[in-house]
């Protein structure tokens, strides 16, 4: 094959080049004749080669279609054996993380936890239609007497329409922030997911409904959808869940979800400049569901975020700002006076993060990082009669310093230290191992 290329190239160059002076004309003509003959020979060889290749390719096709729908190995690309969208395929993927936390001021609270184990099954029905599903187990053991949870994280069908649009229906992730749709342990820095995107944006945030998305050649990707939302009736003012994550305390996650009030969301993400992502999202929906005898039927949750990520060279810089609001909660909070956790009016947070790929050897990649975040799950409350209200919280400020060590493409070892400004008892060392395939 190489000879063909060389021969062709040489021939082409020679043919394209202007002829030399006529002094060696006869010689040249003889050479041309010779080359023509060689070319004929090469053509015959090429034909034979092509036939051989065709036979080989046919054999490959036969092998491929005779085999059962393959479970493609995602880590080592093997396109010669791949089916290239000739029939339905089922792909199993997954991720998981095992974390160790050690509060530095309270060693007896040290804890190791199989934080999550997730199996994802994607089934492609045809070129345009696929099913995406993700099943999760948290804290190792889920039973009536254990602390674990087993949950459906995603379960939706997606269809590509003819004009570049994609539609999905089912239980899917809300496109908010940087982490929610990209939450595998290999995708973020630090053992634990950051607070802004867990306490303010309730990752892993999923709703049931329909969504539409598309993108443009200028790099703008958009998402929109109508889904279930939150249920304020689930707010328990006597527990501290609402202080850990207001939306996390009232999420429905597709479990017998009240749907009298549906929510809408939209997101825009621009990647027009290579290495830069700028985006934002908005989510809004009422949360009372016209419940009989409920004072907060007019309450509405609104959540918006702005995010940016820039990866010049070996740097990975990211920033997120997120803010949530719950309106019309004064009457409800009045019925909950005295309880430690009334419904907040606003909760918000932001962070800046910088990581650098400091060391690479074989398939080991070490990326130290630092992150500063500031968040407040109860920034303000609607006014109550004097003496009955609860004071807004102070912003918690967390600094995280650590490193991710990637082993190959799918495994990551992590270590970091977190310092809390307000509640110093939470200072802790974290170690973790995670994988994604």
């Amino acid at each position: 094959m190489k000879k063909n290329l060389i021969a062709s190239a040489v021939a082409a160059t020679l043919l394209a080049a202007p002829f030399a002076a006529s002094a060696g004309e006869a010689e040249l003509l003889a050479r041309i004749d010779k080359m023509a003959a060689e070319q004929e020979q090469l053509k015959a060889e090429l034909k034979a080669s092509l036939q051989k290749t065709a036979v080989i390719e046919q054999k490959q096709q036969e092998l491929a279609s005779a085999a059962a729908p393959a479970i493609a190995a995602a880590t080592t690309p093997a396109p010669s054996a791949a089916i290239a969208a000739s029939g339905p395929t089922t792909i199993i993927g997954g991720y998981g993380e095992i974390n160790y936390n050690r509060p530095s001021k309270n060693a007896s609270a040290a804890q190791t936890d199989v934080r999550r184990a997730v199996i994802g099954i994607e089934h492609r029905f045809d070129d345009k239609t696929k099913l995406v599903s993700e099943f999760e187990w948290e804290h190792a053991i889920a039973s009536a007497t254990d602390s674990g949870e087993s949950a459906i994280e995603q379960l939706y069908v997606e269809r590509q329409f003819g004009n570049g649009l994609r539609g999905k229906a089912g239980l899917f992730l809300i496109p908010a922030g940087l982490l929610n749709t990209n939450h595998e342990p290999t995708a973020y820095y630090g053992v634990e997911r950051n607070f802004v995107e867990t306490a303010i944006i309730p990752s892993t945030w999923r709703e049931a409904g329909v969504g539409l998305s598309g993108d443009t050649d200028s790099g703008l990707a958009w998402d929109a959808g109508i889904t279930t939302g939150f249920d304020l009736g689930k707010w328990d003012a006597a527990s501290s869940d609402g202080r850990e994550s207001p939306l996390g305390a009232i999420h429905q996650e597709g479990q017998l979800a009240k749907s009298r009030d549906l929510s809408v969301h939209g997101a825009l993400n621009w990647r027009g400049v290579p290495g830069l992502l700028l985006g934002g999202s908005l989510f809004s929906g009422k949360v009372g569901h016209k419940t009989e005898g409920y004072t907060a039927n007019d309450a509405r949750v609104t959540m918006y975020d702005l995010h940016a990520r820039y990866t010049p060279g070996l740097w990975d810089l990211a920033g997120v700002y997120a803010r949530g609001q719950i309106s019309n909660t004064a009457a409800l909070n009045l019925t909950l006076v005295g309880n430690p956790t009334p419904v907040p009016k606003a909760f918000a947070g932001w962070y800046l993060q910088a990581a650098y790929q400091a060391y690479k050897a074989d398939d080991y990649v070490l990326s130290p990082f630092v992150r500063y975040e500031q968040y407040n799950t109860a920034k303000s409350y609607e006014a109550l009669p004097q003496g009955l209200g609860v004071a807004p919280q102070a912003d918690e400020k967390v600094t995280t310093v650590g490193a991710n060590l990637k082993v190959g493409e799918g495994v990551v070892l992590k270590a970091d230290y977190q310092k809390f400004k307000e509640d110093k008892t939470r200072d802790r060392l974290n170690l973790g191992v995670g994988f994604s395939y």
Binding site: L5, T53, I56, A74, E122, F161, L165, S218, P274
Partner: protein
């Protein structure tokens, strides 16, 4: 240029690509990359073991396949360049792409023929693909984070595609330049 369907969207006029998963056919890529070409000749390549070892050394990753689908683009008898077709896996699904090379083994452009994943289709963006243009295996700059910017949220697709292009650049360099 490719046919586009322009639709008014809520935010203003935006143009959507007119194709679904299969964005371009081979013929369309040929015309895109070499508009002046009058003929395309299938000139598939089979690497020898020695060549595969050389490719691995130059590209920094295995040569992976013996056989490569190559088209020579000619204007009459003048070689305009080579078009190499390949597939890589993004996260789970195949990305069909083509690398158009100049006769000196430098990259002319990279085109995506088919992209099936839900995320990461940003590798189709012209701005991102333009990063490859003009580079070759000898100039370097064909690694993710070392000349090719990553795509946030599509690291696997971006890195596998970049690896594929770098591999093809190495093959072109070793096969075209004796």
């Amino acid at each position: 240029m490719r046919y586009r369907l322009c639709l008014p969207l809520a935010a203003g006029l935006a143009c959507l690509p007119a194709y679904a998963v299969q964005y371009l056919s081979v013929e369309q890529v040929q015309k895109l990359a070499y508009p002046d070409a009058t003929a395309y000749r299938a000139q598939d390549v089979a690497l020898s073991l020695a060549q595969m070892q050389q490719v691995e050394k130059l590209a920094g990753l295995p040569a992976r396949s013996v056989n490569w689908r190559v088209f020579g683009a000619y204007n009459g008898d003048k070689l305009l360049g080579y078009l190499v077709l390949d597939d890589v896996i993004g996260k789970f699904e195949l990305i069909s792409y083509a690398v158009a090379l100049n006769p000196d083994a430098s990259i002319r452009q990279v085109e995506i023929l088919a992209y099936r994943e839900s995320h990461g289709s940003e590798i189709r963006l012209p701005a991102w693909r333009r990063q490859f243009a003009g580079k070759s295996a000898s100039t370097g700059g064909l690694t993710l984070g070392g000349g090719i910017a990553n795509i946030s949220g599509a690291t696997l697709s971006a890195s596998h595609l970049t690896d594929g292009v770098r591999r093809i650049a190495a093959i072109a360099q070793l096969v075209l330049k004796p």
